[in-house]
């Protein structure tokens, strides 16, 4: 079933006459066009988002973004309700199915939901409002200028006459779509910029929110898969005699899934309950063919990275001036290495996917961040016309980048086809933890010279896997994200600077992890800046300020100083700071540490200041930053993925230790007020935390931490 407007109306339970307005982007890079949805259907364009108002006044938005915890469910209705002038609780939101042709890039990643669509959505909503006002004015035969909209009604100011939107939808549908409607000013907002409760919360307090794992369809069987523990390789042979004896086990089949440009093979046990499938998986005996790739261990990976950084120059990402010459001649220079680990996304909801393969179509349900990619990929891989691949998104129990990937829906589809029944593949926590793809671990070599209180030379080389290579990126080009996280205005003041990428490969599949390269770069660059500040004998925030000649950043630093009491701190009291930028938002953090009576290191407080420009819901932003800091705390002080003989070592939470409630310090979050373009919210809070923490530890103890993760108990 394709989601035509008519079908949509059926699905969403709307009946009778409906006023439907939507926008579409004619070509990449062109401005959005707003049209009536019925017209769009006639001339064959597909909408990016639609607003529908029915005769009862009910408003439904059709959105094409996934909800994985970052509050899309709430941000989109809040924007629409503002310009449409309706109460927030009258706005419902329905998610689109995956279809890139229709909705453009649907991936929920790069903190892009609000960033990418807000102007179009505001415009769309304001246009609908103007059409409803116009319809009312025409009905009453009064001047449009004397009418205004409020709370789902149009009101004629002089007479007090009032009409519900529902009464106006028929007439509004007949009007021409006006151009260039005027949007509200920030000072006129009633909803945007105010803390608002999320609409999905109630579903998440009584167990009714349907996550991928909760999806059930008639006749569905459960599948558990034994996959190659070395992240690659093939099934040589398998013995399923014990597995087949387990009551409830129906099929055992060889399966596979695409992992970038390779395939991962496995053996699937399909049963009538999850439990039977899991027992069957345990009973399998599989012999793997692990030839043709290296079986690396963590020590070896980092040894090679360090050697490469000592002996090689890399591909140039950025070069200005001649830092190498200054470094060579300087009487004193810093030359240090920073090391960051591989990390696992560890979504609370392990991967899973329901697939139902039928001769004429394939339907998929799951916690999916990028439905359009899934549709595209599976259509090609399984040779099914793309319109016959239907991808449904459920709630996501966490995503962090991992669920923007096609392997698990592909595997589910292959198994469903093989056994001829609808199936749900469930990944155990152990599968989820040991199968990758992971955030790549990266080593940085940082060299620098300070002269007269300023950075006179700055040279960073990094060696680590380039996630774009897995997606066919060019290998002779430097990592495009080599400085992601580092504030760009530094490039204006550091005249002698070079950033290089020393190519580094392993057979370990890698991909994005929340805030991507900023999550590792931030630690190296911002720790190194701190070292340079110390070398220059300067206050670390003053030192940054002197190298950042931009008003917005200076205001951010003012705020950081202000809220954290930075200027009143005593020498070596345990304060550290870092500022990073990614996805068009900047976050500065100050961390305060101390030692407890028994000598243990403790985080007393975290202050975070976010500058994300124009924003919708401060409460969502605060929640995202809190969560980002907790995630960063785990990655800095708790867990890492290590490999032994090519196999990931930690299999579950008893050794891959995530932060718990007992680990969480007080966190205060502040948001800068300005009208700059909206930046991302879900990821930018993460990168600054680790360096702010280790810089604070240096301030307190004089010990410089250059390798993550580290153990707070033993510093």
């Amino acid at each position: 079933m394709t989601v035509s407007r008519r079908n949509f109306l059926k699905i969403s339970g709307m009946a009778g006459a409906v006023f439907s307005l939507g926008f579409y982007v004619p070509k990449h890079g062109e401005g959005a066009k707003i049209v009536k949805a019925a017209e769009a259907e006639n001339f064959g364009v597909e909408m990016n988002a639609w607003i529908h108002i029915d005769t009862s006044g009910k408003v439904t938005i059709f959105s094409h973004r996934a909800e994985m915890g970052q509050g899309v469910y709430q941000a989109i209705p809040q924007m629409v309700a503002e310009e449409l002038e309706v109460n927030l609780d009258e706005v419902n939101i329905v998610f689109a199915k995956g279809d890139q042709k229709k909705y453009g890039n649907q991936i929920t990643g790069g903190s892009s939901t609000v960033r990418g669509s807000y102007k179009n959505l505001l415009n769309l909503s304001a246009t609908a409002r103007e059409m409803l006002i116009q319809a009312a004015a025409a009905n009453w035969n009064v001047a449009k200028a004397d009418c205004y909209a409020e709370a789902g009604h149009v009101i004629h100011k002089p007479s007090g006459k009032k009409a519900n939107y529902g009464e106006l939808v028929v007439d509004a549908s007949k009007l021409e779509t006006p151009k260039n409607v005027v949007l509200k000013k920030r000072s006129e907002y009633k909803l945007i910029g105010k803390p608002m409760l999320r609409q999905d919360t109630k579903l998440k307090t009584n167990g009714t929110a349907t996550f991928g794992l909760d999806k059930q369809i008639p006749g569905m069987l459960y599948a558990a898969v034994e996959r190659n523990p070395r992240l690659r390789g093939k099934v040589k042979s398998f013995d399923d005699s014990a597995a087949r004896k387990i009551p409830g086990v129906k099929y055992v089949v060889k399966t596979r899934m695409g992992v970038f440009n390779t395939y991962r093979e496995g053996v699937a046990v399909v049963a009538d309950s999850t439990w039977a499938a899991l027992q069957g998986k345990k009973a399998l005996k599989v012999v793997w063919d692990d030839s043709g790739f290296e079986h690396l261990s963590t020590d070896e990976i980092y040894k090679r990275q360090r050697e490469a950084l000592q002996t090689q120059e890399g591909l140039s990402f950025k070069k200005q001036g001649d830092p190498a010459a200054i470094i060579a001649q300087a009487p004193k220079k810093l030359d240090v290495m920073y090391e960051t680990p591989y990390q696992y996304h560890s979504c609370m909801e392990p991967l899973n996917c329901v697939a139902h393969y039928q001769p004429d179509k394939l339907e998929i349900w799951g916690p999916i961040q990028a439905p359009d990619w899934v549709q595209d990929y599976i259509s090609k891989e399984m040779n099914i016309p793309r319109e016959k691949v239907i991808v449904n998104m459920t709630f996501l129990g966490g995503g962090f980048g991992r669920k923007a990937f096609m392997d698990y829906p592909h595997e589910a589809s292959v198994i469903s086809k093989e056994v001829g029944a609808p199936i749900q593949v469930i990944w155990t926590r152990e599968d989820d933890a040991t199968q990758g793809p992971y955030r790549p671990g990266i080593t940085y070599r940082c060299e620098g010279v300070v002269d007269n209180g300023e950075i006179s030379a700055f040279k960073v080389k990094l060696a680590g896997q380039n996630v774009s290579h897995w997606q066919g990126g060019k290998k002779d080009a430097p990592n495009r994200s080599a400085s992601e996280g580092f504030l760009k205005p530094y490039f204006d003041t550091i005249k002698n600077l070079s950033i290089q990428d020393v190519p580094f490969e392993t057979p370990i599949p890698t991909m994005w992890w929340r805030s991507v390269y900023a999550s590792t770069n931030g630690f190296a660059y911002e720790s190194f800046l701190d070292e340079l500040a110390v070398e220059a004998g300067k206050d670390p925030l003053t030192f940054r300020r002197e190298h950042l000649k931009e008003e917005r950043l200076n205001k951010l630093i003012d705020k950081m100083e202000d809220v954290s009491g930075w200027k009143n701190r005593k020498a070596k009291e345990g304060y550290g700071t870092a500022i990073t930028e990614c996805f068009a938002s900047t976050v500065g953090q100050v961390v305060k540490v101390s030692r407890t009576a028994d000598g243990k290191l403790k985080i007393d407080h975290v202050w975070a200041v976010m500058d994300c420009g124009w924003y919708v819901n401060p409460d969502t932003i605060k929640a995202q930053i809190e969560g980002s800091i907790v995630m960063a705390l785990g990655a800095a002080t708790h867990h890492q993925v290590t490999f032994k003989d090519g196999i990931p070592v930690d299999k579950n939470f008893y050794s891959y230790q995530l932060p718990r409630i007992t680990d969480i310090p007080p966190i205060d979050i502040y948001i800068m007020e300005n009208d700059a373009d909206a930046g991302g919210v879900g990821e930018p809070g993460l990168p600054a935390f680790a360096p702010a923490l280790t810089n604070a530890i240096f301030d307190l103890t004089g010990k410089r931490i250059r390798k993550l993760p580290f153990d707070m108990a033993t510093v």
């Binding site: 970052q70 167990g207 039977a276 909801e349 718990r660 409630i661």
Partner: protein
């Protein structure tokens, strides 16, 4: 297979299952209540927390045979209208992000508050340390438990 008779959310059930099956999968796959979540399967994360005769247990490591003749309450049965004080506090503070861990968080918090109606931060940390939240909603969990502690507690049905 064996017949296990028990009471789940106030309803008598008779489940025809492998007695070794963890309660988690019996609740989810056999009874069809999907609110109780799988997170680790080894009593490390608390996503699967339910009440067994009023005590918080990890259903992923509780064999279904153990609930024979016993009373189980899942998140779906905690209150009639999503209005147990813990649920109301969770809603008021907008605690969940992805929400996946919160069935378990709420079930743990409900037991904590029954036993300790006015917990300190330390009491909360101790009681909730078995529940992981990957989205990092811990500060709000603490705040919401304090809020719930101050609420009228007459509402919960199966507590």
């Amino acid at each position: 297979m064996a017949i296990i008779k028990c009471n789940i959310n106030g309803r008598e059930q008779s489940l025809d299952v492998d007695p070794q099956m963890p309660l988690l999968w019996a609740i989810r796959d056999v009874v069809g209540l999907k609110g109780t979540k799988y997170g680790c399967g080894v009593a490390q994360c608390g996503a699967c927390t339910v009440h067994l005769n009023g005590e918080a247990v990890r259903s992923c490591v509780t064999k279904v045979s153990r609930i024979s003749g016993q009373k189980v309450v899942t998140i779906e049965g905690l209150s009639a209208n999503n209005d147990h004080p813990v649920q109301r506090a969770w809603q008021e503070i907008d605690v969940p992000q992805c929400g996946y861990c919160h069935s378990g968080q709420i079930m743990s918090a409900a037991v904590l508050l029954r036993e300790n109606p006015n917990p300190t931060d330390e009491d909360i940390d101790t009681a909730m340390a078995g529940n992981i939240c990957r989205c990092g909603t811990y500060l709000r969990i603490r705040k919401a438990i304090h809020l719930a502690a101050g609420m009228d507690r007459k509402v919960g049905r199966n507590e």
